[in-house]
Symmetry: C2
Subunit: 187 residues, 2 copies
C-alpha cells in the first residue's frame, strides 16, 4: 500500500510518499515541501499549491491520501490557509477516486513514537529510523508529512476515518459501526 | 462588469451573479445555493462543491469573483468547512485568471445598506430593492452571495483587495498604495 501524507500549510506544505513493506516495515518513495510566495495574493498561492498537489498525486498514484486534521483552535494567524490547503489536498484526492484519511497530530505522534505527547524531534528521529534514513528528513514539514503517511499505515486495524469510510460496502460499514460502538462500550 | 459572489459554506454555499448597469444600478443574472450531503465524507463534499463552482464560473464567466472573508473567530463548528469552500472558490477563479476580491461581512453590510451593523433582514430587503426584485431572494445564503457581488460593484473607488491587487501594473500598484496611505492620513 502506498500512502501520500500531507502536512498542510500555505507558506510551506509538507508532502511525503511511503510504501508499506512486509513485516511492518516502510520505504520512503519521495518527500518534499510545496511552497507559495507570501507576497502573492491568497488565491494565487492556493492555486500554486493546488497545481503542485495535482503533480504529486499523478506522479505517485497513492492508494490513500492522509491529511493532518486541522482544528479551529490552531494558530489563528495561519489556520485559514492551513485549512484551505488541507481542503485542496482532499479535493485533489477525491477527484481521482483516492480515499482520504484525516489524522490528528496526537494520533500521528502515538503511531510513530508510541506516545501522543512526543516532541517534534522525537517524531523526526523515529521517522528516520522507521524509513532507514541516516538522519531525519529536513525541513520539519517534510518529516511531518512522512509521519502522517506512516501513521496511516500503522494505524490500529479497523480505525477508519474521513473519506475512507465511504469506500466501504453497507455491510462493512455496519460492521465498522458495531466495532466502534463496542470499543466505546469497553473504553 | 459582472461579479460572481460566493457566501462560502460546506452544507450550503450561496452563489450569485450580478451585472453592473449605468447610473449605479445592478441586474440579477443568476442566483442559487450549492449543497453537499452532510452524511458524506468531507473530501466528497468538498469535491461536489468544487465541481459546481466550476460549472458556475464556466457558465457565467464573471470579471471578478467576490468571496466573503472568513475569520478564525467564526463559529468553531463550521469554520473549517467554510474556509475550505472559500479556498476552493479562490482557486477556481485563479485557475481561470479571474481576479478574486475578499470582503468582510461588515463591508458588505455597509455597501448595501449604509451601515456596517445592519441586520440580515435589512440586507436582504436592500438586495431585493437594488436588483428590482419583488421580494428578497431565498434562502438567506443566496441573498448574502448577491450582497457580496453588489458590495464589490459599489465598493469605494480605489479599494482594491485580495487577488485583485495582483492584476495591477507596478505603476497602478504604487498609485493605489499612495491613495491608501493618503486615506489613512486623513481618516
Amino acid at each position: 500500500m502506498r500512502v501520500l501524507g500531507v502536512d498542510p500549510g500555505l507558506t510551506r506544505c509538507g508532502i511525503g510518499v511511503v510504501d508499506s513493506l512486509p513485516a511492518r516495515r516502510a520505504e520512503l518513495v519521495a518527500v518534499g515541501v510545496l511552497q507559495s510566495p507570501p507576497q502573492d495574493s491568497v488565491d494565487l498561492r492556493l492555486l500554486r499549491i493546488s497545481e503542485r498537489l495535482d503533480v504529486w498525486l499523478d506522479e505517485h498514484m497513492p492508494d490513500v491520501v492522509a491529511v493532518e486534521r486541522v482544528f479551529a483552535q490552531h494558530n489563528v494567524g495561519t489556520v485559514m490557509g492551513t485549512a484551505q490547503v488541507a481542503g485542496l489536498a482532499m479535493v485533489a484526492a477525491a477527484r481521482r477516486g483516492v480515499p482520504v484519511a484525516l489524522h490528528t497530530p496526537s494520533e500521528v505522534k502515538a503511531a510513530v513514537t508510541g506516545s501522543g505527547r512526543a516532541g517534534k524531534e522525537q517524531v523526526q528521529r523515529m521517522v528516520a529510523s522507521i524509513l532507514g534514513l541516516a538522519e531525519p528528513p529536513r525541513p520539519a514539514d517534510a518529516a511531518d508529512a512522512l509521519a502522517l503517511a506512516i501513521c496511516h499505515l500503522w494505524r490500529p486495524a479497523g480505525a477508519l476515518q474521513g473519506g475512507e469510510r465511504n469506500q466501504l460496502t453497507p455491510a462493512q460499514r455496519a460492521w465498522a459501526a458495531a466495532e466502534h460502538a463496542a470499543r466505546r462500550g469497553v473504553g
